[in-house]
Subunit: 666 residues, 2 copies
């Protein structure tokens, strides 16, 4: 095949599509470039837990038959047994991005497309949204389908088996509320699928990454850069970025409490008396049933605001069946329907809900008004915008679209609804909402990714360690601002939160954009920060450090907004050539100048830390460190934290270190 060069960045030579010196597409005898086929899917849904089955009835390996060079594009014609079946139109857009558009040439019943992207054995892959188990996605398969994250998330653990038996809720290494069809290669390109349909990324092969689409996607977008940071900048320019946060979020911890105003105030006062800085109180149990206990909420919010404390609420895009709202909206096409034309009911925590049909402008507006009336009107400064993972694959929606293809877009629509409610009341600068569900473009519509309900344990599958991984992988997907619930949230099948876990998670959250703490799904039996003075003292210490870090944190958040850099970054983003840096899945840089190595195992007094090549100062001891592995004293209260000696914030870091290093919890 003759050498073909479209311009300097894109060339097609010897059956290889080369884009900015990276071979993106290629075929060889053993590996066709693409496959076309048909499958009968079976999607099982229980609440927001899904399982997929696919019965393939055809799959054709396609090879390059011919290549047409147009003025501004290459058309790769793919054949099966010498018949054209698929065209890949490859061209550069105005920004120099490579666009690959698949077009079916041979009419037929096709609903499966596999594309192989060239890989090599050394390559590492990051992203695919919020991934809780793996940072480097190589050797694993990732279906992109928003769902519950799961309980235990490891099919070989008893807690997962029990949750699976109950409602298929155990999850697996790939289950996430925020999957995204975007990845970043260590060859410094990203690949984004410009489509919300179901896709599976298979990174198990050494020679290729295989993408399986359950409907032909609009296009694939590739872009390259010389550094990860610039690449993230380009990617987030395409996908959108999160905004700066309201300044009140710097005031301290966001405290999730339940049980009515009286109880909430008791706890809040106890913690404040113990020196804890509280930025906001979040009550997620304000609803029709608890009205009495929250009867003076609006006045209390005013009072709290005077004390520099905000109130945050809770809302979902679904409502309980037979609730007053349900009866009011019934019969007006406001809810997602099932095939029989009845309201689709979804069982969540043993209660039946119906889903507001976000594709119906009337329903969308009604939900926006709910946000305005129930939250903004009473003075809420934010809320958890929960849910969004529930659109059933076989649901019928108002807009003439397949629910199956909208499923992953649903959380984005839900985010949009929240943002519009705020924009229409001109409160963008004051409000924060936390969304656990999301996908591409969520960054633009939702200020914070909430990592959902981790288990109250240390585990790499679903506990404290998984929250670190989730932070870094979502950062590599363009969600630079995220937070996990301090101490975890799900206490299932005998799993219980300990004081130590709560303390270690507190320390981790201190070096993040947010400190938010919930009481778990079983507050009475899990350890709480207000349970004893040692815990209060510990929380007070870190809420103080958090407050003292405000100026630095604002700098970091600005990098998210202006440059698309995640607030919390894997070490290799800043130290690209350091091979050891790539191995640190549970260490991160908060901004450029703070290196954090959270202790994610119980009973540790020391912790091994890897430092990349720089001049580091251990914040608590003031000791200087060079690159390499070091064993660091890491008592509770002394999370391993290092700052760059030449940071412009070094004086402030030193001050924090001096002030909080001794005399606290030992």
């Amino acid at each position: 095949m003759a050498l073909k060069v479209l311009d300097n960045s894109l060339a097609l030579t010897d059956k290889k599509l080369i884009y900015n010196e990276r071979v993106i597409l290629s075929e060889n005898e053993k590996s066709p470039l693409a496959f076309l086929g048909y499958g009968d899917q079976n999607m099982n849904m229980q609440g927001s837990n899904y399982s997929f089955e696919d019965k393939l009835t055809s799959k054709l390996p396609l090879v390059i038959g011919s290549i047409t060079e147009l003025e501004d594009a290459y058309n790769i014609n793919l054949t099966f047994e010498n018949t054209n079946h698929l065209e890949l139109k490859c061209y550069l857009d105005n920004e120099g991005r490579l666009i690959v558009e698949p077009h079916i040439l041979k009419k037929g019943n096709w609903n499966r497309l596999w594309l192989r992207i060239v890989a090599d054995s050394e390559e590492k892959i990051y992203g695919c949204g919020e991934q809780l188990t793996y940072l480097n996605l190589r050797k694993h398969v990732f279906p992109i389908w928003t769902s519950n994250t799961g309980v235990g998330r490891n099919k070989k653990k008893l807690v997962t088996m029990q949750a699976d038996l109950e409602e298929n809720a155990g999850g697996d290494y790939y289950t996430t509320s925020f999957p995204q069809a975007t990845f970043i290669s260590s060859h410094k390109y990203y690949c984004h699928i410009d489509d919300y349909s179901f896709v599976t990324f298979d990174f198990t092969n050494e020679q290729f990454h295989e993408l399986l689409f359950w409907s032909v996607p609009k296009r694939l977008i590739f872009e390259t850069s010389t550094t990860y940071k610039r690449l993230l900048g380009k990617m987030t320019k395409l996908l959108g970025r999160q905004n700066v946060l309201p300044s009140w979020t710097d005031n301290g911890i966001i405290l999730g409490l339940t049980g009515g105003i009286k109880r909430v105030q008791q706890v809040e006062k106890k913690l404040k008396a113990g020196g804890v800085n509280i930025a906001a109180i979040l009550c997620h149990d304000v609803n029709e049933k608890s009205q009495e206990k929250y009867s003076n909420l609006a006045e209390t919010i005013q009072q709290w605001n005077k004390e520099d404390m905000k109130y945050l609420g809770y809302i979902t895009p679904y409502i309980a069946k037979n609730s007053p709202n349900y009866l009011k909206l019934s019969g007006k096409q406001m809810f997602v329907k099932n095939k029989e034309g009845k309201d689709y009911t979804v069982l969540i925590s043993h209660q039946q809900f119906v889903l507001i049909d976000l594709t119906n402008p009337m329903a969308f507006m009604w939900l926006k008004d709910e946000i305005k009336n129930k939250l903004l009107a009473i003075g809420a400064s934010g809320w958890i915008a929960d849910g969004g993972e529930n659109l059933p694959a076989d649901g019928i929606v108002f807009e003439n679209k397949q629910a199956f293809e909208l499923h992953n877009y649903w959380p984005v629509l839900w985010a949009k609804c929240n943002l519009q409610a705020i924009e229409e009341t001109r409160k963008e600068a004051e409000i924060v909402y936390f969304m656990k569900a999301g996908s591409a473009q969520s960054a633009y519509y939702s200020p914070v990714l909430w990592q959902g309900m981790q288990s109250v344990d240390w585990s790499q599958d679903d506990g404290l360690a998984s929250a670190i991984c989730a932070t870094l992988s979502s950062g590599m997907s363009g969600m630079g601002i995220s937070q996990s619930d301090i101490g975890g949230n799900l206490s299932s099948y005998g799993n219980m939160r300990t004081a130590e876990l709560l303390a270690r998670w507190t320390e981790f959250a201190c070096f993040s954009p947010f400190m938010r703490m919930q009481e778990t799904n079983r507050p009475a039996v899990n350890f709480q920060a207000y349970d004893n003075n040692i815990a209060i003292e510990h929380l007070a210490k870190f809420s103080n450090i958090f407050k003292d870090l405000s100026r630095y944190r604002q700098e970091v958040i600005k990098q998210v907004t202006l440059e698309g850099l995640p607030a919390m970054r894997p070490l290799f983003i800043e130290y690209e050539k350091d091979e050891e840096a790539y191995k640190q899945r549970y260490e991160y840089l908060f901004g450029t100048d703070l290196l954090i190595a959270p202790v994610y195992r119980a009973g540790k007094k020391e912790w091994q830390v890897y430092l990349p090549d720089d001049n580091w100062i251990h914040i608590w001891s003031g000791r200087k460190y060079k690159t390499g592995y070091h064993t660091i004293s890491a008592q509770i209260g002394e999370i391993p934290v290092f700052y760059r000696a030449y940071s412009k914030f070094s004086e402030q870091f030193e001050k924090i270190g001096n002030q909080y290093s001794k005399g606290w919890i030992q």
Copy 2:
């Protein structure tokens, strides 16, 4: 398409292959006749537990392109996109059987073939070897791959989860040591795959049965008949039948005992003193380690024989690594090898074993000699021929064949080895051996199918109920003589045998070709027949009834040998037009004249029984019954048993009923 008729039995008209008035093959717009493809399989093996994965890289739906009518055959040419890919040569053999031979026409990398056989929604399917969970296989998928039966055999049960975690040993509804690629349709035809390669039968579709072959099979064989009984006769004529049993097996129970001759004799004497008829003692723990305890075994056997009691042993086609035999045979190509050319080691019960290479004539002979020297020479009248499920898919064998394709044939080879050892010593009429692994042709080579290690519980997945299903399904596959271990055998993860379970299982086994009892894998903690007088008395009663049934049983066994009818039969075999009869998965006819409804739940004093249209007499009460559902008194000791009033054995049955109905266990 023009009407084509090859002879009266086979016609091809309107894209339908019609054989003796049954549409066997057909295509329509929604359902192609066949598919051709390629897949990369991944077979995981732990001991004799397997899991499969298949990555398809191609799958072409094939439709009828043309039909060639030869003198003695139809050639159906199947095309994809108008290119011939596969030919199905369809013809009748000398016996009038329909043979379908697939031949690849289009060269390529094909290792997957799917064939669809016409079905309708009312149709029922039986067979596929020993199936423990389902009798009617409709709505389920059955991979044919010999393996352990599994522990619990239900992925939603804790015991299965625990076994899976430990060594992938939990099993599933389809796992069996004796799978067979043969099924019988309620349209009164059988379909047999004349090949031992991996095949999966998918009976989930209403319109077709889909067979998936992992290599192109030699041929499919179909045959029809007017009744199930004649059909079974034809099928077993093709596949081989089991022989009559040695007369000593009528003498009573076969008692499995361990721990050395001294202990064995103690137990045996205790039971005999309690009135238990013992036909044979089976010791499966006679080996190099226990030599001392069995030092006078040969003399003891002689003594036992004088007392009309036989001795049975135990042997496997694998030997412990580093055992004296291993060291002796090492380096002589006697063992199955791995890809590196080393001896393939298989972990069984935490010990490493190597597999005798049954394809090497020298190794085959050595194993035959072991049987002669270690068992026959010391006077054994039989043995458990355990194992045979272990040939690894990636093993390398002496003969130039793929281990993957030999895996299902391995147990047949192992059976052959046993039979030859006996034939060469001219002891065919005296010897019985029990094999749990097997497949097509096992009937010819092994006298008894042993159902392996059921769990010591009642369950339909893996307990007493599963043994009933196993009996009936293997009977429908041509294995007319089978036995389960009375009381089950596997006591895992806290599962323990009760006195009641042992009693109910004893009653079931009494109306079967064999009564064999083992002490379970944990004798000390499970209930044993010799644990108290009530149990001994109960066992004595049923060992007496068993003995008293000898003449009738010999008749029944003759039907196996001469007519291919299973000794224990689903009701519908004898009462074809009775729709209710098809629903009774756990009732059976022992021969034609005894109807048994084993009690397979705990705590029952009554039992609902269905009786087909005949004149029935309840053996214990002498009451007469007509067709229909009846609630019958079913105390322990009074298993629901009915005899046909007009049986030529009715007098004998009446006598048994009178003799044993009262005054025993109440």
